[in-house]
Amino acid sequence: MKTPFKTNIEMRSEPLIEDKKRRSILFGLSAVIGSAGASKMLGENALGVAMAYQNRPDCVRAVGRLFTSGQMQILREVCQLVIPKTDTPGAADLDTHGFIDNQLVRCHRADEQLRVVRLLKLMDSSAKKQFKKNFIQSSEQQQLSLLTSIENAKNGFLEDDAKHFAFLKQLIVFGYFTTEIGATEELAYLPVPGGFKGSFPYSSVNKAWFG
């Protein structure tokens, strides 16, 4: 099926060799057996062929695999409200909404997909009711107050709405923190720790390990 605008997956025809990853594995190996030995051990392979999700800065205008263009815009706003730009980019800056659209279709059940679609519709209809504006035209303050009500099942929102929002939030967090920026800048990412230390001062890293 050819759906150029419905997919955010870009197939790569050539293997993607990620230099940073390769370097870090080589570094770990070198530390124990010397760099010549490490290069020999890993040879040409060991580093898998990647078929990575590709961010599309413009995808907010596109129809998603699951979402309409309107729903994508709402999701984009929600992503940025949950994880905003600070000294690192926000969730929408990293196309987390595009990722979620793809991920829901590829890795989640139909009922889970439907829950998120309904939730986005609910956000829009509630904004219209409360603020007489679409969700994306509402002010940031209005949007935040609406999402806070949903998250806490208050002001007319139900426990189920809160549960569905928690599910969406999990997706946003997963989508954001599994990007390179999320994993390596917001968190401390150690692909090859070199061994296990049972006691390590938190203040010397001051953030959580990625894994």
Partner: protein, 576 residues
């Protein structure tokens, strides 16, 4: 690895045939080859070469199409059973079986999750690497309560073979001097405990003097010896992504350890993509002559011949082959004059858990991902120490860790505070999970399905296995007991759960071709040799007479090398 090692057709009569290339098969091949026997290892699946074929290794999530999750369609079509395994993900899925091609049935009202790893290296690629010796309390367990038959061996007969395996494989751990969990003299240094674990250990051991909390013993090179370095293996890097494959060779697998040793002798051939259909039995000599094989890809038939045959095809795999090997003398499966082949299937019960929060330790953290946790050995290892409500006992495994971004994703709020809250390490958590012994019961059975076959024309296994009230009662008690231990350790917000997951998911299938002294009630003798056929040995988990509570792999390996040593002596003395 040299390509001449892999064969397809061969008329050669090998000195030894080893069916399977996992933990047991790898050891059998190595030991035969090192004793100078021309050995053929038969593997039903494809070749997986060390390093070269670890395609998921070292790939960060952002380079994976679904960031490590597996596509729905693939799950539905190929991995409906395999996806239940904790180690199954996008970077490991190619080492798990394709459920569509590997059908089996379960008796109505029962469920069994059969995890498969049908490629060179088998489940040695995927195992959890916990390595514990059994003790005489385990070997004698069946003599106390009428369940199962007595193991025909005792600890003193297997101790030196444990040591033989540990030396080559490399097992990290600490000497503890516990009678129910024998030490090794060759332990590599144990992994470190975290600060909260050290304190919890002290609190538990003070409140319950019969219980010890120790570091899990793992087949990881915390400090490789010269022997390990010669194998091309280096120190464990604490990535804890072992099942993707480890180019460091830091954990024991066929690929990292036994296969290179076997290959180095020049005595090894491997027949990959060769699904063993049945064993060829000769009524005149009353021996096995070889194996009938169906090609994994082309479905062509071929045969391989050998003077002695070792079945190391996994518990259910070996039993399936034996049940499907019928002849005039053995109409109900080869080496089955006793009629117990297929019976006494066991697994371990992992269904009870307790966990909670550890207050404090905010400045305390760890570095690296320890590939295993702490272990509380079975403290009900003999009847007088056991519960009055059920038979046998359980071990507890677990550990302490700090919550990270995955747990923090359920935090409430928005914006910068929410973002910062996720990026910071959260509360310390501690958990204990039970690993319970399962009684050997005749009615837990596998047999061949009367009509259904797989694509190779081999009758499907029909599995009839369920927990008994003994296992269910034990899990309730284990959850309560774990909760009490967490309480004395100062753990807060304790939750306990008893789930109802079916047997299979501990991936410790055991029994179905049990050992015993009496040929009327067992399939194998104390050397894993068939009572009925002197050149047929079965050395995987199917030989177990009882499950004990320990992870069984180290014992598979020790029994295998012991059986090879015995078989080679028997051959030299002309008795086989």
């Amino acid at each position: 690895m040299n390509n001449e090692m892999y064969i397809k057709e061969s008329n050669q009569v090998y000195d030894a045939i080893v069916v399977g290339s996992g933990l047991s098969g790898g050891w059998a091949a190595k030991e035969f080859c090192e004793r100078g026997l021309k050995t053929l290892m038969i593997e039903r699946g494809r070749v997986v070469e060390h390093r070269k074929d670890y395609i998921g290794e070292g790939v960060p999530p952002w380079e994976m199409p679904m960031r490590g999750k597996v596509d729905n369609i693939l799950l539905e079509q190929r991995h409906r059973i395999q996806k239940q395994c904790y180690a199954f993900n996008d970077a490991t899925k190619h080492f798990f079986g394709n459920d569509r091609d590997l059908p089996y049935t379960t008796k109505e009202g029962t469920t069994f999750s059969w995890i498969r790893a049908n490629q060179l290296g088998g489940k040695s690629m995927l195992w959890h690497r916990q390595s514990f010796r059994l003790s005489d309390f385990d070997f004698k367990a069946n003599t106390h309560d009428g369940y199962g038959n007595d193991w025909p061996i005792r600890y003193s007969e297997i101790a030196k073979w444990y040591e033989h395996v540990e030396k080559h494989a490399g097992i990290s751990g600490a000497k503890e001097g516990l009678e129910q969990l024998p030490d090794s003299d060759l332990f590599l240094p144990p992994f470190e405990m975290t600060k909260p674990e050290i304190d919890i250990k002290a609190a538990i051991e003070k409140a319950f003097p019969d219980r010890k909390m120790i570091m899990g013993r793992m087949a990881h090179l915390t400090k490789p010896t010269e022997l390990h370095i010669q194998q091309g293996r280096v120190q464990c890097q604490a990535r804890n992504e072992c099942q993707k494959g480890c180019s460091f060779g830091a954990y024991f697998s066929t690929q990292s350890s036994t296969l290179p040793a076997a290959a180095a002798t020049g005595n090894l051939h491997i027949a990959p993509n060769s699904v063993v259909h049945s064993l060829i039995y000769d009524e005149k000599s009353k021996q096995v002559q070889g194996v009938r094989v169906i090609d994994n890809d082309t479905l062509e038939e071929r045969e391989y011949f050998g003077k002695v045959v070792f079945l190391c095809a996994s518990t259910l795999g070996s039993t399936q082959i034996m049940l499907n090997s019928t002849s005039k003398s053995f109409p109900n499966g080869i080496a089955n004059s006793s009629g117990v082949l297929g019976h006494y299937l066991m697994d371990h019960n992992y269904n009870a858990k307790a966990y909670g929060d550890i207050p404090g330790y905010e400045e305390e953290y760890y570095k690296g991902r320890r590939p295993g946790g702490i272990y509380i050995p079975n403290f009900q290892y003999e009847p007088k120490k056991g519960s009055k409500k059920y038979l046998r006992g359980y071990a507890l495994a677990g550990g302490a860790y700090r919550e990270g971004w995955k747990e923090n994703a359920s935090n409430k709020g928005f914006g910068r505070d929410f973002k910062d809250g996720i990026s910071n390490a959260g509360k310390w958590k501690f958990s204990l999970s039970a690993q319970g012994e399962m009684l050997p019961r005749y009615e837990n059975t596998v047999q061949l399905h009367p009509t259904l076959k797989d694509k190779w024309g081999i009758p499907q296994l029909d599995i009839n296995c369920r927990w008994s009230s003994n296992e269910l009662d034990m899990m309730k008690d284990a959850a309560d007991t774990a909760e009490k231990m967490l309480k004395v350790a100062g753990v807060e917000n304790i939750k306990k759960t008893v789930t109802q997951k079916p047997p299979g998911l501990a991936i410790h299938e055991l029994g179905t071709a049990r050992m015993g002294s009496d040929p009327k009630t067992s399939v194998l003798n104390g050397f894993n040799q068939s009572h009925d056929i002197n050149n047929l040995f079965v050395t995987d988990g199917s030989c177990f007479s009882s499950s004990a509570v320990q992870n069984p792999s180290l014992t598979f390996m020790a029994l295998t090398v012991r059986a090879v040593d015995f078989a080679v002596k028997e051959i030299k003395n002309g008795r086989i």
